[in-house]
Every structure is written in structure tokens, then in C-alpha cells.
């Protein structure tokens, strides 16, 4: 009987040598004349274990990792001697994949198939519940689909947290000869990789989500705006789109229905700001990636001036589950107004980094300490930046913050795209504040003044502060500048740069040469 071996094609795994592992496995298996099928699956998201090789045995998958090409010899030797996967004795054996605590603790709705299926096999996708959401959607009126999305409580996973169903309703209600679905796959935040993982590991779920969106609002064309740094995702998406087209899931008549939906992958050109939805649209139109003023909202005048849904990869990829299992099944998870699950990405100086999909409500402390296992360096955590390079730095004091849009906002932070970057106590927070301005200066589109000039002046002023020059005056100036940028900037790039700066200044004043303010006596 053919033995199925799973070796991820995910870029993170490949970066750790998964391709070499796969090659060596194929070579040795052939030499050993054992009958194996190597499936290049998506990643299971436990990045410290990559390349994570799985061997299937009687329907169960046993994990080994991290596997170097040299480790393959031992595995093949055992297999050729007829060993059961469960019985292979090596220090890299991890037991049943599903039982690994990091994995077991998750609630995988969006990522349910990621790492399990062959990403570009339509048959595999369908065998694991794929396209059930679309089937349900096709049986509904467009307004019915939108109602489901509304009821699920799904909010924009790109960071803004805007209710997805309401956005869809707006586009649905707009009258136009052409509407568009645009997927924002320009994932550029530091410490984030969920979009990439799902596009590489289960591209069909995104395609299905976009198709449902198209049917719901009457859009017949979709574009995935993918950052060019994601070549593996591009390959997987294009292969999957071709397969979906060939099988009639995309095209002039989706599944034989009266709905048309065409889908195309477009590559970005490397600007962070093109992840901002309006400059993304400009870029998609072939123009410079310049932020547009809102209104008009993209839902009214988006791509090529037409009503456009622009959603993050994770928002769209959550939709098939919602349609297939029902809005309630999704809404049952979460806390407060944050319903469902969030694929959280643990990164930076962390022992167990990776993708962790979980219902909203888990605390920051649990995430970084229990799930992530603390720092990789073993030193104490000093700060955690949540929500990308424009997210706030949280000190240990705030680790009780639950993962929830409102809870983070209440503490002058943001969950953003769910990226968490951990720093140990060696980090200099003044340098991090400077970095925020520097990042903004490098990535500014240059349209609005607060961002275009403010970021440069912020960096320069931080240099003066770090050089001890008129420290107090310049710290006041930075605070004023942050006020100007936060309220004056056109988009979130300039508008959110003050978050890392001010949070660093507030929570870590010592690093700025300023004594920690004593709590007010009354408090």
C-alpha cells in the first residue's frame, strides 16, 4: 500500500530546507523501493518545527520535526523495514500531529484544511468540505448571503475591524454596470504571515470566499493583489485558479449558475503603503500607489471608480466556513463584539513561533507565555508589539489584555492583522520609537504632509533625544508631532505611527532618559 508522506511546500518550511528534504525522501524511497506518495501540503503553522514531516498511518498523521535532509535517511530506513509511523524511534518524533499541544489548543475554522490537504488539489479540497459554502450560497438570495455574513459578526481582519457584512451590503446596494471584489493580499506587517500561509496552504478557501462575495454583491470580477515577495503564494493561487476554472467554479457560469465570476492574481511592486486599501486600488489600476481621500468609500467608488469590496485575505477566507456551517457556528466563538476566531501570528523573539488560530478573548499573556513559551533567547519579555510596525508596544503590565478589538483600543493599542512580535529585555525602546518614524519615512506614499515630512522630522528629533540634545523640549516636540500625525494624516500609515512611538514613550520612559512619571496621588 502506498504510504503518504507530507512535506510542506509552505515558504517558511521551504526556507528551512523542506524542498531538500522532499527530494531526499523521494530519492531514498525509490532506492529503498518503498511505495510512497509525497504530498507537498501547507504548513501546520508550528514554525519552530519546520520542516515538519508527517507520515500517514492508518488514517493518522505522525509528525517529525524539524527534519533536516540527513534525518530523512533514518526515517526511510525505518519505513523500509516496515516500521509503523507510530513506532519510528527518533528524537524528532513528535507523535500525532493533532496532539501537539500548540496545535491541539487551537480552534481552526479558517485554517481547518491548511496543512492537511494538497493545496492545489481541488479533489482534496472538496473531500475536506471545500465548496460547501459556495453550494449553500448559490441556494440563497444575495441578500441571504450577506445576512449570514452579518450574523456571523465577521469583522475586517486587515486591522480596521469594520463589519464585513455591512461593507458587502453597501456594495450590494450600489448601482453600477460593473462591481469588483478585491482581495488585499499585500501582507506587509512585520511578524505577520497568516495570509501567505493560507494562500500557500489552502488557496481554494480564498477563491471560494471571493466567489461567494462576488455572488453576494453582483461583482463579476475579482483581483487578488498579492505582494511580489510571495512567489510561492502566487504559484499556488494561480494553480488553484486554473483548477477552479477548469472545473467550472470560476468563469462565466459559476457551477452552472447564472453568476459569472472571473479571478486574477496581480502582483504588487513592493510598497508597504499599497496594503492601504485605496493606494492598493490605485496600484491595481496601474497608477502610483497614492492614498485616496475618503469619501468616496471604495464600496461606492473603488476600483476603476466602480463599487468594490476590498477585504483582507483572512476575512474572505473565513466566509466559506460561515456559509457552510452557518453564521451561528462562527459567532459562537469569541468575546464581546469580536466574534469567531483570529489566526494570530506569533513572531519575534519567541520560543514557539507560528500560526495560532483561536477564538477572540485569549489574553496576550497566555499567547506569548503559555502558547509561545516565552522568548527564544530565554531572557524575560520586555515588550510585545501587536498589530504590525504601527502597533503599540505593550509591557508585561498589560498582558491581561484579552485579544479583542475593543479591549486593545481601550489600552491605546490595536490588534491589527494579528501579528505579535516579542522583544526581550535587551531592546532599547527609544530605538524602536525611532524605527517607527524611520519605517514611516521609508514607506510614506508622500501624499499628505504629516506623514511625508512628519516622519522625517520625527526620526531626526528622536536622534536628537537619543543624543541627549534638549531632551525634554524634543520629547514635547515628539508628542506634538504624534498628535499632528495621528489626527492629521490621510491614512493609517502616518496616523498609526504615533502608536509605537507614544506607547514606547509612555510605558518605557527610562529608555528615553526620562524618569517614569509617578502615579497621580489620587489614584
Amino acid at each position: 500500500m502506498t504510504k503518504r508522506i507530507f512535506i510542506p511546500r509552505d515558504a517558511a518550511a521551504v526556507a528551512c530546507g523542506a524542498d531538500d528534504v522532499a527530494k531526499r525522501f523521494a530519492l531514498l524511497a525509490e532506492q529503498a523501493k518503498i511505495d510512497v506518495e509525497i504530498v507537498r501540503n501547507g504548513s501546520r503553522g508550528m514554525l519552530w518545527l519546520e520542516p515538519l514531516v508527517e507520515i500517514e498511518d492508518q488514517g493518522k498523521r505522525y509528525a517529525f520535526g524539524p527534519i533536516a535532509p540527513a534525518d530523512v535517511d533514518g526515517l526511510v530506513a525505518e519505513l523500509s523495514q516496515g516500521a509503523a509511523a507510530a513506532g519510528i524511534k527518533t528524537s524528532k518524533a513528535l507523535g500525532l500531529t493533532e496532539e501537539i499541544p500548540f496545535f491541539k489548543r487551537q480552534t481552526r475554522l479558517t485554517f481547518a484544511r491548511c496543512g492537511i490537504t494538497d493545496p492545489v488539489s481541488l479533489a482534496d479540497y472538496k473531500a475536506h468540505g471545500g465548496y460547501e459554502g459556495l453550494a449553500k450560497a448559490l441556494a440563497l438570495e444575495p441578500s441571504g448571503i450577506i445576512d449570514e455574513v452579518k450574523k456571523s459578526g465577521l469583522r475586517g481582519r486587515g486591522g480596521a475591524g469594520f463589519p464585513t457584512g455591512i461593507k458587502w451590503q453597501t456594495v450590494h446596494d450600489a448601482r453600477a454596470d460593473q462591481k469588483y471584489i478585491v482581495c488585499n493580499a499585500d501582507e506587509g506587517d512585520s511578524g505577520t504571515f497568516a495570509d501567505r500561509m493560507i494562500m500557500e496552504g489552502d488557496p481554494f478557501v480564498l477563491i471560494e470566499g471571493m466567489t461567494i462575495a462576488g455572488i453576494a454583491v453582483g461583482a463579476t470580477r475579482g483581483y487578488i493583489y498579492l505582494r511580489s515577495e510571495y512567489p510561492h503564494a502566487a504559484t499556488a493561487l494561480n494553480e488553484a485558479i486554473d483548477a477552479a476554472k477548469a472545473a467550472g467554479y470560476l468563469g462565466q457560469t459559476v457551477c452552472g449558475s447564472s453568476h459569472a465570476f472571473e479571478l486574477e492574481v496581480r502582483l504588487g511592486a513592493g510598497a508597504y503603503v499599497c496594503g492601504e486599501e485605496t493606494s492598493l486600488l490605485e496600484s491595481l489600476e496601474g497608477k502610483r500607489g497614492l492614498v485616496r481621500a475618503k469619501p468616496p468609500l471604495p464600496a461606492h467608488e473603488g476600483l476603476f471608480g466602480k463599487p468594490t469590496i476590498i477585504n483582507n485575505v483572512l476575512s474572505l477566507a473565513a466566509v466559506p466556513f460561515i456559509l457552510a456551517e452557518g453564521a451561528q457556528a462562527y459567532a459562537d466563538f469569541g468575546m464581546g463584539r469580536s466574534r469567531g476566531t483570529m489566526p494570530i501570528q506569533l513572531a519575534g523573539n519567541i520560543k514557539q513561533g507560528g500560526l495560532f488560530e483561536v477564538a477572540f478573548g485569549i489574553t496576550l499573556g497566555e499567547l506569548v507565555e503559555d502558547v509561545g513559551g516565552g522568548t527564544a533567547s530565554g531572557r524575560p519579555i520586555k515588550a510585545v508589539q501587536v498589530g504590525g510596525p504601527l502597533g503599540a508596544y505593550f509591557p508585561q503590565d498589560l498582558f491581561d489584555t484579552p485579544f479583542d478589538y475593543e479591549a486593545f483600543t481601550a489600552r491605546d493599542g490595536l490588534i491589527g492583522h494579528g501579528g505579535i512580535v516579542v522583544f526581550d529585555h535587551t531592546v532599547d525602546m527609544a530605538r524602536q520609537a525611532r524605527f517607527a518614524f524611520d519605517f514611516c519615512a521609508i514607506e510614506s506614499c508622500g501624499k499628505c504632509t504629516p506623514c511625508r515630512i512628519g516622519a522625517i522630522r520625527g526620526r531626526e528629533t528622536m536622534d536628537k533625544i537619543m543624543g541627549g540634545q534638549d531632551r525634554d523640549k524634543n520629547l514635547d516636540l515628539v508628542a506634538d508631532l504624534c498628535n499632528t500625525m495621528k489626527f492629521g494624516s490621510l491614512c493609517a500609515l502616518g496616523g498609526f505611527t504615533p502608536y509605537p512611538v507614544m506607547s514606547a514613550l509612555t510605558h518605557f520612559p527610562d529608555d528615553f532618559g526620562r524618569a517614569r512619571k509617578l502615579p497621580a496621588a489620587a489614584e
Binding site: 481621500a293 508622500g446 515630512i453 531626526e460
Partner: protein, 958 residues
């Protein structure tokens, strides 16, 4: 007089009819739906600080000064990009807003030179104003940070610094002063539609860049000036402003170039023009301009201008400067002598389409009243006379039917034989704007004009017909409309003569008029013709714009009537967005025709044979008028060659250069005994003149011009005539010398007389022009404020008249000796015969006329780019250099005629329009061959021209 400052509302006007009421700073204000908060505030007199917003451009939202607070909304939205909403409560000034604005200005100024006192924009700088408005008192960042201001910093080169770009002759670009508001880039896109400018780089590296980091002159920039006008700082400044300083007073006047009739503010310091700035309230141009009107006014003070009258006894003598008394006396005595010796009819005159209505009216009055003849004609003879004839016949009025604003409502635009982006650039820009909004375009032109494909514009159909086959094309378009049942029968039955329509419909339906059969003449794919016809007939509001490519043909009048037929058959007449629109060439060609410049008509297009009209004039002028039409220009020249026509008074026209068959013109002029020229310069015709009366420019006289949309607009004197007299005064001097009792003190009195004598001008007066800014005639009791769109209820003549338009090929045929067809046109930077524009820096864009020839035809003849070639026709030959391009089809060659030595009109024939004698400039069979340089006749002409332009040195004693 003070400087005229238009209010800048920040964002464009909303056209919505629904209104919204909101509260701004505690005051209730009602504005059209879609208005921005910024504009609504300005409507009630509150100027919210702004830098990137201006009402000529769509809102952009980049400067972040205009933030406001809106009750119940988060954050501080930009007032320029946020539309008003019912019951919205807005605050424009709060502590938070003050802090943000101050913070933004502090950033701006941290990257801006502090050289206000020596800056060209000092006193007219929005950045300066805003620093004041927000109360900026300190720039805490210092000036030692990254900047675009200093060439070097801390002893090393500043890579961000860029030198000034002074390549454009009229304006300079100083990157160190740029605040990256994008207004120039947006003006180039939205207003001009050229897309020559962009922002290169990103973030702090962002900077304005013409093309791909080119300099302005070598980029696609067409120097329209929209960017300079849009710039809120001194980054883009007129060189004249840099040199002279800020103006202290200004007057609104009308451009003296093409028939678009742009309004400008002449901004002055004393009698010196600092700059010409397009006037936002100008209804023809809506605040836009082109390189000619905006910048090319230098000819008005050019050293070539003749400022003293000159006389000579014969044309082989040099000129002798003299007094006005002697010169005027000579004119009067010579004309009297000639009339006594050769008869009354031996004299005549030509009015100018460049001069004011008042100038023209007086010249034709002098000829009719003083000379007692009707021998008066005008240059419209050689351009739009078929328009007058064709539209009068079909609609009953000799003028275009729309205003230029109409194009904003057009859905399908058909451009026939016109090249608006070069010939009528400001209209071209307005048209392109509409096309970018989604209107469809059909181009009927032998040549691939820029409109066919330019940034963000692409014609649905380009019917590249063979020159001379307009009637074949238009009749076959009509064939499709009738035979495919696309006629708007309801309109035709209600508005037109049904019997004439059916006769016409039968005629065009004939198989011989189908696109398939007409292809043999037009050379155009019949399917393209059918598609164009369907689009025009069914695409919504269909508007036709046409130019001299329609009129300057042996069937020019027929083509105009064929256009009128199409418009009537499809119901595309009588409302905004449709119509038949001739793009008139000269600033006042409409006016000169209106003013009775034709030998058969009195002012207002009334035939001399009409006794009621004639007696009105006879009573007012106190003379008997000859009821018989006088001589047209070609007839005057013929008569001169025959010896019966001896004296002519030509005001502001260069017939030797602009009229066909130059040798014939020269022979006619040479045979005359007294040729009087009134002009700014010693033009080519003056080579044959005996008296030269210096003319005055449009800046030196009061008066009115009437543009292509029948719009009468004021021309205002901003400096004293350098020659001593305004043109109308010169004509009056002649009249007085001839014994007429004229006593006009001001052109307004001339207009009063025009109004008195002309029903369509009854309601026009300078007072009303002052009030309304401009008036589209007819203006009378029925239409006291003028009439923007004609034929709304009925046609002027009652019922619209369909005319049969049988295609008759021109006699000018190609054959083995003359296998190519020459057609002519013009270019953006030069104007007509070039007398003005060649005396400005516009020559930097067009130093010489060239012959455009298709690569195939060039290769067959061994012609390479830039080679000297001769162009030979049955009439004559001339030489110029070749420009190889596929803009022209094989078999067609093309040239401009802006330079006198080109002598294009040595080659053109004397074929002309059957109805009006308008010459057939657009079709000449020619052969092209390699040559070594100018022809012998060109060399001879150059010598002759130099000789006849000699002016005797003034004696030392004086």
C-alpha cells in the same frame, strides 16, 4: 483700478439641483448636494485654511490644513473631501484643529526656504498666507534636518536639492519651493488633459517631474500654463513675474488668438504686462488657457512693430516715415483720385477677423458710406464662409448652435476636419475632459490627430478618409442612419419640413450613397462608417464639432449642409450637449461676419437687396446704398489684374500669405495704384503697399470680440496705443478726411450704432456687457441676456431644411504626375500666418514648417527625415523639409503654413467652394521629390521681401 482676485471656493461647484442645509460655526447654510464642507463654508464667507485645494481641481485631501470637526463623527475629516450632509454640524476652528494646523504648517515651513522678501511670490503666496492664518510662530525642528532647500549642508552636497529648471521660455520651476501639493500635476491632468507631469519618488523624495525626469521643454508639456496658475507658491512662476514683480492692477479682456475667445486678466504694473492669467469667470475657457493666449503676447511690444505711418510712391521704393496727417491725407486723396479716374467701383476694402467688432463695423461703414460701394470682404471668405452659407440655408442662422459649456453634456462627439488640441486648445481640453468622463469620440479626419489616441482618450472610430471626400462620407453616414431606421422621426416631424426630409431620405438611401459604394472615394472601411453612424444616432447627446477641414473644399458648403442634415435627422439640435459647432479660426471671425463684412450683406446677415434693412441704414448714415452686392476678394484681385480695380484698404489681414494662388494675389496687388495696409507689422501683403498705417494691439484698445459660440466679450485697453491711435480711430481719421462727419468718442458709441441697426444685437450695450461679462447673440427683447443654445423651440428660419448633398469629386485630381494629396493645418504653438507667434518665444516649439509624409511614400522617393524636398502642384512649387510620420496615410502629405517662406499657397490651386468661393486649401494634388534647399522662387521672394521692407533712415537733423 485694483488687482482682480477671484474667490477660490476650494472645490468645484456641485451641479446638483437638490440642496442640503447644514450648520457651520453656528450659522445655517444651504448648498447644492455634493458640495464640500470647504465650499459651503466659503459660500458663507468662511475661508477654511487650505493649500492643496482649489476650485479648478477635484479635491485631493493632501495638505491636511482644512480639517474640521463634525458633531457625531470621529476624528477630524478634511473639509475639501467631505461632502455636506443634511443637519450636519461643523466647527471650523477648535483648539484641537488649531493644534493640528499649526503642527502641519510647522512641518511645511521646516522644508521651505525663508526667502520671502526676495521671492517672486511675495505678496501672492498661499503658503505665506496660511502660515499667517494658522498663527505659526516657531519652527521647533530647526533647519538642519533633511530638506530640499539648501544646495549643500554641513559642507557636503545635499542630494535632495535640485536646480531650477528654466528650460521653458515662459516659466521657471524651482523645486526648492515645492510643497508637493500636486496641484500642478492635477491641473495638467484634469484641466489640460496632457498628463505631462507626475510626482516622482515617494515620501520625502516626492517631487514634481515633467515626464520621466525630463526638463519642462523636452517633456510632453504643452506650456498651457495651468500648472503655473495652480501653483500656490513660487515653485512654478512666470518668468515675467520673476523679472518684473507683482502686478498692481488688472483688467479682464479677451484673447486675440483663436475663435475660442478665452477671457484673461491682463495683470499690469503701469503699462507693462506682468502676465496674462486666464479668468475663471470666462465662460468660454472657464479659467483655462493655452500657450498662445497665456504667454505669447510678446509680439505686442516686439521691435518689429511699426509705430509710425509710412508712405511711398511705388513699391520698389523704400518706405518713408511720415506724420499721421500726411498718411491719412494721402489715403483720402488717392481714393478720391482713383474713384474719379476709374469710377466709383475701382476701390474697396477688407475687414479683419483679428480686429474688434467696432473696428470691423467702421471699415465696412467707411466702404459703404464713404466709398459708396459694397466692395468689402473679409478673411472668413477663405475659412468659414461655407459655414455661414450652409447653416443659414438649413437652420436659418449663420452661426454655431451651442455654447462651449454644451460639451459637458455631450455623450457622443464627432470631430470633423478639425484638430482641437492644436487649433482650439482650450476647447480641446474641455472636450478631452468630457471624453475622460466617458463620452464617446468619432474622428473624421485624413490625419491621425492627437485626439484619436492620447492619454486616457481613444476614439471609438477614426474615419481616416481621403482628403476631398467629406460629402461622400457624410452622405453615407446619413445613408446608414436612414436605412437602419435610426432617424429621430418625432423630432423631424415636429421641427423640420417633412417633404424635404422624405426627399432627402430617398436620396441618401440610394445604394450609390451606401458606405460600401462610397468606399471607392473615401477609402474607409464601410463597417467603421456604419458603426460610427449608429453610435452618433443612438449614443445619447450627439454633438458635431468641425473646422476648416470641412469648409476649405470645393464642396465646403455642401459638407456643412450635410452636417446639419445629420444633426436634424437624429434630433441632435436645440438643447445642451448636441448641436453643430464650427470651430472658428480667428478671435473675431464670427464678429467680422456678423458686422457686415461680406459684399452682399449688411450687419446681421441681411441681404442688401432687402429694402427695409437698406433704408434703415440709409436713413441712419444719410446716403444711398447700392442694392447690388460688391466684389469678393478674388473678384477684386481679378478686376485689378484686368485694370478696373485700383485701390484697396486692408485692415489687419495678410492676403498674400493667407489667400490661395499667391502669384495671382501678387499680380492683383501689383496692378493697383493705392494699396493701404493697416497692421502691426510689415506683413507680406505690405510688400505691395503704398501707405502703411500702424495698427494697435488688443491690449491698446477698447472693443469687443465675438467668439465661435456667438459670445460677445469685452476687449479692454490696458495701455495707450504705441502707434498713437486705436484702429477704430484710424478708420475714423480716414472717414473724416474723406469728408464724413463721424464723431465717435469711444467704441461703446459704435456698439450703440450696431445695436440700433442690427436686430440680433438690439439688446447689446457696453453697460450690459459690464454687468453680464459676456453676451451670446441674439440679444434683444426676446432674449435680453443672450441665447446660449439656439433653435431650442423652432429653427430660426422656422422649419429645419434638409438639403440634398450629392457628392461631386473635386476637379483637383491625383494622377501619375501629381500622385499625392497635400492637405494643410496648424500646430499648437503657432497661429495662422505666424505674424504674432513667430515674434514670441513660441518659435522654440516650431521653428519651421515641415511636410509630413508617410514612411512608405518617403521611402519610394528616397526621402529621409529632415531632407529638403520640393512640393510641386499644377500651380507652383515650394520647398521645405520632410517629417516622416504615419500620422498621415500613404498618399497624403500635410504641412502647416505658419512661416511665410513656406509659401504653401504657391502650391494651392484656385479651386474653391461652389457657393462661397472659399478656397480649396485642403486638397491639392502634388508630387514630392528630393531637393537641395529652397526653390529659386523662394529665394527670389526672400530678396524681394527684404527689399520692399526697407525703411528710409530718418535724417540726422531731426
Amino acid at each position: 483700478m485694483t488687482i482682480i482676485k477671484e474667490i477660490d471656493y476650494g472645490t468645484p461647484e456641485s451641479k446638483s439641483e437638490k440642496t442640503v442645509t447644514l450648520t457651520i460655526d453656528g450659522t445655517s447654510v444651504t448648498v447644492p448636494e455634493g458640495t464640500s464642507i470647504m465650499r459651503a463654508a466659503m459660500e458663507m464667507g468662511t475661508a477654511i485654511p487650505k493649500l492643496c485645494a482649489t476650485d479648478m481641481l477635484e479635491s485631493f485631501g493632501s495638505c491636511r490644513l482644512c480639517l474640521v470637526e463634525v458633531e457625531g463623527r470621529n476624528g477630524t475629516p478634511a473639509s475639501c473631501t467631505t461632502p455636506v450632509a443634511p443637519d450636519m454640524v461643523v466647527r471650523t476652528q477648535t483648539q484641537r484643529l488649531k493644534e493640528i494646523r499649526n503642527g502641519v504648517m510647522e512641518l511645511y515651513i521646516s522644508d521651505h526656504p525663508l526667502d520671502c522678501l526676495t521671492c517672486a511670490a511675495n505678496g501672492d503666496c498661499e503658503l505665506q498666507d496660511m502660515a499667517g492664518a494658522v498663527g505659526l510662530r516657531d519652527v521647533r525642528y530647526g533647519y538642519d534636518g533633511a530638506n530640499h532647500v539648501f544646495e549643500s549642508q554641513c559642507g557636503s552636497k545635499n542630494d535632495l536639492f535640485m536646480d531650477k529648471d528654466v528650460s521653458n521660455p515662459y516659466f521657471a520651476y524651482d523645486p526648492s519651493k515645492c510643497i508637493v501639493c500636486n496641484r500642478c500635476v492635477r491641473a495638467c491632468e484634469e484641466v489640460q488633459g496632457t498628463f505631462a507631469l507626475t510626482i516622482s519618488g515617494r515620501g520625502f523624495d516626492s517631487r514634481v517631474s515633467p515626464g520621466m525626469d525630463e526638463d519642462f521643454l523636452s517633456s510632453e508639456c504643452v506650456s498651457c500654463g495651468a500648472c503655473v496658475q495652480a501653483c500656490p507658491t513660487a515653485t512654478l512662476s512666470e518668468k515675467s513675474l520673476i523679472e518684473i514683480g507683482q502686478p498692481e492692477h488688472s483688467a479682464v479682456t479677451t484673447c486675440a488668438y483663436c475663435g475660442v475667445g478665452c477671457s484673461f486678466k491682463a495683470e499690469m504694473r503701469g503699462e507693462e504686462v506682468v502676465r496674462m492669467v486666464p479668468y475663471k469667470d470666462g465662460k468660454a475657457n472657464r479659467g483655462h488657457s493655452c500657450v498662445k493666449g497665456r504667454f505669447a503676447y510678446g509680439y505686442t511690444t516686439h521691435r518689429d512693430r511699426i509705430l509710425n505711418p509710412m508712405v511711398r510712391d511705388s513699391i520698389d521704393q523704400p518706405w518713408r516715415e511720415t506724420t499721421w496727417e500726411e498718411a491719412i491725407g494721402r489715403v483720402a486723396s488717392e481714393f478720391k483720385r482713383i474713384q474719379e479716374k476709374y469710377g466709383k467701383g475701382a476701390v474697396g476694402g477688407i475687414t479683419s477677423s483679428r480686429c474688434t467688432n467696432e473696428d470691423v463695423f467702421l471699415v465696412q461703414k467707411l466702404i459703404r458710406q464713404g466709398f459708396g460701394v459694397n466692395n468689402v470682404d473679409t478673411c472668413a471668405r477663405v475659412c468659414h464662409s461655407p459655414t455661414g452659407y450652409g447653416l443659414k440655408t438649413t437652420f436659418g442662422e449663420s452661426a454655431g448652435t451651442q455654447d462651449f459649456d454644451s460639451v459637458e453634456h455631450a455623450d457622443v462627439v464627432m470631430v470633423i476636419g478639425a484638430n482641437p488640441t492644436d487649433g482650439h486648445p482650450v476647447f480641446g481640453s474641455r472636450l478631452k475632459k468630457r471624453l475622460r468622463e466617458g463620452a464617446k469620440l468619432i474622428v473624421v479626419d485624413p490625419r491621425r490627430i492627437d485626439l484619436v489616441r492620447s492619454p486616457h482618450i481613444s476614439a471609438e472610430q477614426h474615419l481616416a478618409l481621403k482628403p476631398g471626400t467629406n460629402v461622400a462620407m457624410l452622405t453615407s453616414l446619413a445613408h446608414v442612419i436612414v436605412t437602419e431606421n435610426l432617424v429621430n422621426e418625432e423630432f423631424v416631424r415636429a421641427r423640420c419640413d417633412w417633404n424635404e426630409f422624405t426627399e432627402w431620405a430617398d436620396f441618401v438611401s440610394a445604394e450609390a450613397n451606401s458606405p460600401e459604394r462610397m468606399q471607392q472615394y473615401t477609402g474607409v472601411d464601410p463597417e467603421a462608417v456604419r458603426a460610427a453612424a449608429r453610435l452618433y444616432a443612438t449614443g445619447g447627446n450627439g454633438a458635431i464639432y468641425y473646422g476648416l477641414g470641412v469648409t476649405e473644399h470645393s464642396q465646403g458648403s455642401t459638407t456643412v449642409m450635410a452636417i446639419a442634415n445629420l444633426a436634424m435627422a437624429t434630433g441632435n439640435i436645440g438643447r445642451p450637449g448636441v448641436g453643430v459647432n464650427p470651430l472658428r479660426g480667428q478671435n473675431n471671425v464670427q464678429g467680422s461676419c456678423d458686422m457686415g463684412s461680406f459684399p452682399h450683406e449688411l450687419p446681421g446677415y441681411r441681404h442688401l437687396s432687402d429694402e427695409v434693412t437698406r433704408s434703415l441704414f440709409e436713413k441712419t448714415w444719410g446716403v444711398k446704398l447700392n442694392p447690388e452686392p460688391g466684389l469678393r476678394i478674388p473678384n477684386m484681385l481679378d478686376a485689378a489684374v484686368e485694370g478696373t480695380f485700383k485701390g484697396i484698404y486692408i485692415q489687419g489681414e495678410d492676403i498674400l500669405q493667407s489667400d490661395p494662388d499667391m502669384q495671382h494675389v501678387a499680380a492683383g496687388l501689383g496692378a493697383m495704384e493705392c494699396v493701404v495696409i493697416q497692421d502691426l507689422f510689415l506683413n507680406e501683403t505690405a510688400n505691395y503697399a503704398h501707405v502703411f498705417l500702424p495698427g494697435s494691439t488688443f491690449l491698446e484698445k477698447d472693443g469687443t470680440f465675438t467668439n465661435a459660440e456667438r459670445r460677445i466679450q469685452p476687449v479692454r485697453r490696458v495701455m495707450a496705443p504705441k502707434n498713437g491711435y486705436a484702429d477704430w480711430e484710424v478708420t475714423q481719421l480716414i472717414a473724416k478726411a474723406m469728408g464724413l462727419n463721424w464723431d465717435y468718442q469711444h467704441p461703446s458709441q459704435i456698439m450703440d450704432e450696431i445695436a440700433l441697426l442690427t436686430p440680433t444685437f438690439n439688446g447689446v450695450s457696453y453697460k450690459k456687457l459690464e454687468e453680464l461679462g459676456s453676451i451670446q447673440w441674439p440679444c434683444n427683447d426676446e432674449h435680453p441676456s443672450g441665447f446660449p443654445v439656439m433653435h431650442t423651440e423652432t429653427f430660426t428660419r422656422g422649419q429645419g431644411r434638409f438639403m440634398l448633398t450629392q457628392y461631386v469629386p473635386t476637379d483637383e485630381k491625383t494622377g501619375s504626375r501629381f500622385p499625392l494629396i497635400l492637405t494643410t493645418g496648424r500646430i499648437l504653438s503657432q497661429y495662422n500666418v505666424g505674424a504674432q507667434t513667430r515674434r514670441t518665444d513660441n518659435v522654440m516649439w516650431h521653428e519651421e514648417d515641415r511636410l509630413e509624409i508617410h514612411p512608405h511614400d518617403a521611402e519610394q522617393r528616397g526621402v529621409k527625415e529632415g531632407d529638403w524636398i520640393t512640393v510641386r502642384s499644377r500651380s507652383g512649387e515650394t520647398a521645405l523639409r520632410a517629417l516622416i510620420t504615419d500620422r498621415v496615410a500613404p498618399g497624403v502629405v500635410y504641412t502647416t503654413f505658419h512661416h511665410p517662406l513656406t509659401q504653401a499657397n504657391i502650391v494651392t490651386t484656385d479651386y474653391s467652394d461652389w457657393a462661397t468661393n472659399c478656397p480649396e486649401y485642403k486638397v491639392t494634388a502634388v508630387q514630392v521629390s528630393l531637393s537641395n534647399g529652397p526653390t529659386q522662387s523662394q529665394e527670389e521672394y526672400r530678396e524681394f521681401s527684404e527689399r520692399s521692407r526697407r525703411v528710409m533712415a530718418v535724417e540726422a537733423a531731426e
